[in-house]
Amino acid sequence: MASPGKPPVVHPALERNALGLTLRDYEGSMSTLCAGCGHDSVTAAIVRAFWELSTPPHRIAKLSGIGCSSKTPTYFVSGAHGFNSAHGRMPAIATGANAADRELAYIGISGDGDSLSIGLGQMVHAIRRNVDLLYVLENNGVYGLTKGQFSASADVGSKSKRGEPNPMAPIDPVTLALALGATFVARGFSGDKAQLVPILKAGIAHRGFALVDVVSPCVTFNDHEGSTKSYVHTRRHQVRAVLADFVPPAREITAAVGDGEATRVAMHDGSVVRFVAVPQNYDPTDRRAVFAYLQDQRGKGVIPTGLLFLDEGTPDLHEMSATIDVPLARVPYEKLCPGSRELERLQEEFR
């Protein structure tokens, strides 16, 4: 079923961003997901993040694979260029797109099936290449479109709707990404939009691969008693471990470091991520320490959320490839073809 459009009526009192656009201008079609689906809350956070950043909609490239999560690009920023591709293959398509035009804002939406099973290889390698891409993994521990099979992120002992416990250890995208050298690692909860919006904004500003794992409960197949990806379980075990504030380039930072603030990281576009509150002795730029903290919390059954790790110093795909600033897709042909005389000269090597 095609998702219906929304009425284009805009209330005159709606707030406008720097481009003169309202939140409505960053919305997409009506969601066709189940009522109460966590993914719709994530969509709302994405709409707000782009609106607050005043990103021109047509300068956004939104991509996805296949699955419930991957349907969501239809539901935000209808003025963006979208690509709903194939199951588990979005990272490669986003990588190629980014290689061809480095200037757009790339957002990839995926799920735990799309990312951690069929697309694990591609996600892992996109992380290695540090592709400049905000990668939102809407994680509900279950296959929705095929009605309730466990995904690779299901916790040991978490029960399916039929009551069967999952016997296998989960793949945790957050620790996986950290181990792989990811440069931006965050975890959010669809039920906590206030925390999620600044994470998404920082992820868009980040130059490199930004993994945002969002626990996003499936109300139809995985929101029951015994599931560790339900609203109730997540609310009970989620800890807002790291609170970060995103300060856009233009705005002055008034609060001084030390004012309850752990650290701040300057982003490449001039914006700043302020880590407002972190656990004791926690350094969000120290990969090993963050890893150890997460392992520790996991052992305690806690789900720490927030912008957990940030490294703005590692080169992205384009820096590693030493490509020019001009998007490759926009380089005039005259600058690409060596011409007939050079071909003649070159062929002396083949004589």
Binding site: A2, V331, S340
Partner: protein
């Protein structure tokens, strides 16, 4: 027993039998290039194992003043450097032929053949005396036999010496070693053997407007000239050297003069599913992007080739075909991906294929592939093979027209969109059934949602049968329309031809030679080499014209014949298969025998 009555000039074949990993390739290449430089048409076929060191490898050189470049099966001289293959190598010599061997060790008398002359040179002993480094002793044996061959075949030593200078001039030690080894072989042969042999080289002027190049290098050059900026690949034999060459050319021609930074991006992917994905992503953005692969990669790319077909995204895939199925024989040649590529992916899919016959066509068709991919907004697969891709071919010089501009197809810019008012991705269509596309990021009015899921002509998601079908029918028509734009078949007619031979790709030199031979024997045959799929009217007409159509191809299941049967009006009884698929390049004899066994031979034609 047959002996050569007189001297044959510039018309013979050599086979060099070696152990791989011993450095023979460079000596063999030296010989080939020297013959080329003497102005004599020549071809080299490398029959090598899927291994780095220790297995048998052969290099065949065919010298032909008439420009016959197909693999010869009659060898006048074999250089037997691999004791493990002596027996087989000696068997393959023609009666009256010569065998050059390393006489440091005695030859097993059981191997002797009365109709073969044995030329012994103590290569190991001579090289051990001249060189002290163990590795050098092994390497230089090859250069020494090259020197002996130069003497036996009467090669121009100044040409050979100049080649050594060009190759190793910047490395004095290597230059001296090579020169020394070359002289060792040359001098020994002159002093101890009958030089020259009854077949020999003589300078001519046959290569003035030719180059010696392999197909993968030419393909890479085509991609460079076509303006490709994004390349994604996964290493695989026999396609790897395409990306090696592309990288080399880009390093030379694609550096921004001011910043030193790259006007290209090469992505070594984690697998072929990713490499085709990257190509599709870059194509969606409007870059000219390609991937190079072989059969196993094509299998993996099937899924996303369907996505690119259905979502209508340009993509160029170069398939350097090798022997399948499965891992098959990765270093041997075949034309066995034809059907897989024509219909790659699930659902109803059809792709545009190009069939180059040699490195020159690899260069030309690589450019064509990008133009067609963008013109028709669809994947285009360049069907090369290992023989074309990895062997050195003498081909006419590559030409470039500076007036060339890429055919970007129907792409709407800001002004077009302003004029248009509303943009729909798949509507309206032009006479080729192609709808205009927009590139992401260019204009707010051009935004649309690309999807591999069911969509209607406006680009919206659909599950409605009529709306789905409307798009699928246009895609079929679009594919059909591409028949007018793919390279036309090459048709060679002979007076009084009773049959019409059809083939493709690297079969070409063997078929041309075979048809001359058949004509000599009294069987005149027309010949059509298809160069593109979908098949155009000329293909239909040729098939219609001939009552008997032998289809020569290098696979077991007659894939080209199947494709012709499926995609033209030809009654399949007319098509008679001549198949050669053991993995070595095709030879004329195989074609002659094959054609004769498939047609009713007119009386008087010797079989």
């Amino acid at each position: 027993m047959h002996h050569e009555a007189r001297t044959r000039v510039n018309d013979f074949a050599l086979k060099l039998a070696n152990v791989n990993g011993t450095g023979s390739a460079s000596a063999n290449g030296l010989l080939l290039q020297a013959i080329f430089r003497m102005g004599i048409p020549v071809s080299g076929k490398n029959l090598f194992p899927s291994n780095i060191q220790g297995l048998p490898t052969w290099y065949e050189i065919r010298v032909s003043r008439d420009g016959r470049t197909a693999r010869a099966l009659d060898y006048d001289l074999i250089v037997a450097m691999n004791a493990r293959t002596y027996e087989q190598d000696i068997r393959e010599l023609r009666p009256g032929g010569y065998l050059l061997y390393d006489s440091t060790w005695p030859l097993d008398t059981a191997l002797l053949r009365a109709d073969v002359r044995f030329l012994g040179i103590p290569l190991a002993r001579l090289c051990n005396a001249a060189f002290s480094d163990p590795r050098e002793r092994i390497l230089m044996k090859n250069v020494a036999y090259a020197g002996a061959l130069a003497a036996l075949l009467d090669a121009d030593m100044t040409v050979v010496e100049r080649l050594l200078e060009e190759r190793y001039g910047h490395r004095k030690g290597l230059r001296e070693s090579n020169s020394c080894a070359l002289r060792i072989g040359y001098d020994y042969a002159i002093a101890n053997l009958e030089c020259p042999l009854p077949f020999r080289l003589e300078k001519m002027d046959g290569n003035r407007d030719s180059i010696l190049i392999d197909g993968n290098t030419a393909t890479a050059l085509g991609c460079l000239y076509a303006g490709a900026t994004v390349a994604a690949w996964y290493p695989i034999t026999p396609a790897t050297s395409i990306m090696d060459a592309f990288k080399g050319f880009c390093g030379k021609y694609r550096r921004d003069p001011e910043t030193g930074r790259n006007r290209y991006c090469i992505l070594q992917a984690e697998d072929e599913m990713a490499s085709i994905g990257m190509v599709i992503g870059a194509g969606w953005m409007g870059a000219r992007a390609f991937t190079s692969t072989a059969g196993p990669g094509i299998s993996l790319m099937n899924e996303l080739l369907g996505l690119a077909y259905y979502a209508e995204i340009p993509a160029v895939v170069i398939d350097v075909q090798r022997v399948g199925p499965s891992t098959g024989m990765p270093t041997r040649t075949q034309q066995s991906d034809v059907l897989k590529c024509a219909y790659a992916s699930h659902g109803d899919t059809k792709h545009v294929l190009l069939f180059p016959a040699d490195p020159k066509e690899c260069f030309d068709f690589a450019v064509t592939a990008f133009d067609l991919a963008e013109r028709f907004q669809t994947p285009v697969i360049l069907m090369s093979d290992l023989d074309i891709g990895m062997n050195d071919w003498v081909v006419p010089r590559l030409r470039w027209d500076d007036a060339y501009r890429p055919d970007r197809g129907r792409v709407l810019g800001t002004e077009d969109l302003a004029r248009l008012g509303t943009f729909f991705r798949y509507h309206p269509e032009d006479e080729d059934h192609v709808a205009a596309r927009t590139l992401p990021g260019i204009d707010p009015k051009g935004a649309f949602f690309t999807r591999g899921s069911g969509h209607d002509k406006f680009g919206a998601y659909t599950e409605t049968p009529d709306d789905y079908r409307e798009v699928m029918e246009r895609l079929a028509l679009k594919h059909r329309a591409a028949a007018r734009s793919v390279p036309a078949p090459v048709i060679v007619r002979r007076p009084g031809a009773s049959v019409g031979v059809v083939s493709m790709g690297s079969c070409d030199p063997a078929i041309r030679e075979a048809l001359d031979e058949l004509a000599r024997r009294g069987l005149a045959a027309d010949y059509m080499r298809v160069r593109g799929f979908p098949f155009g009217e000329e293909v239909e007409a040729f098939l219609e014209e001939h009552e008997i159509v032998p289809v020569v191809e290098m696979n077991r299941d007659a894939q080209l014949r199947s494709l012709l049967t499926l995609e033209t009006r030809v009654p399949k009884e007319k098509l008679r298969s001549v198949l050669a698929y053991g993995g070595f390049p095709l030879s004329a004899r195989t074609v002659v025998d094959g054609v004769l066994s498939r047609v009713e031979v007119p009386r008087g034609v010797p079989r």
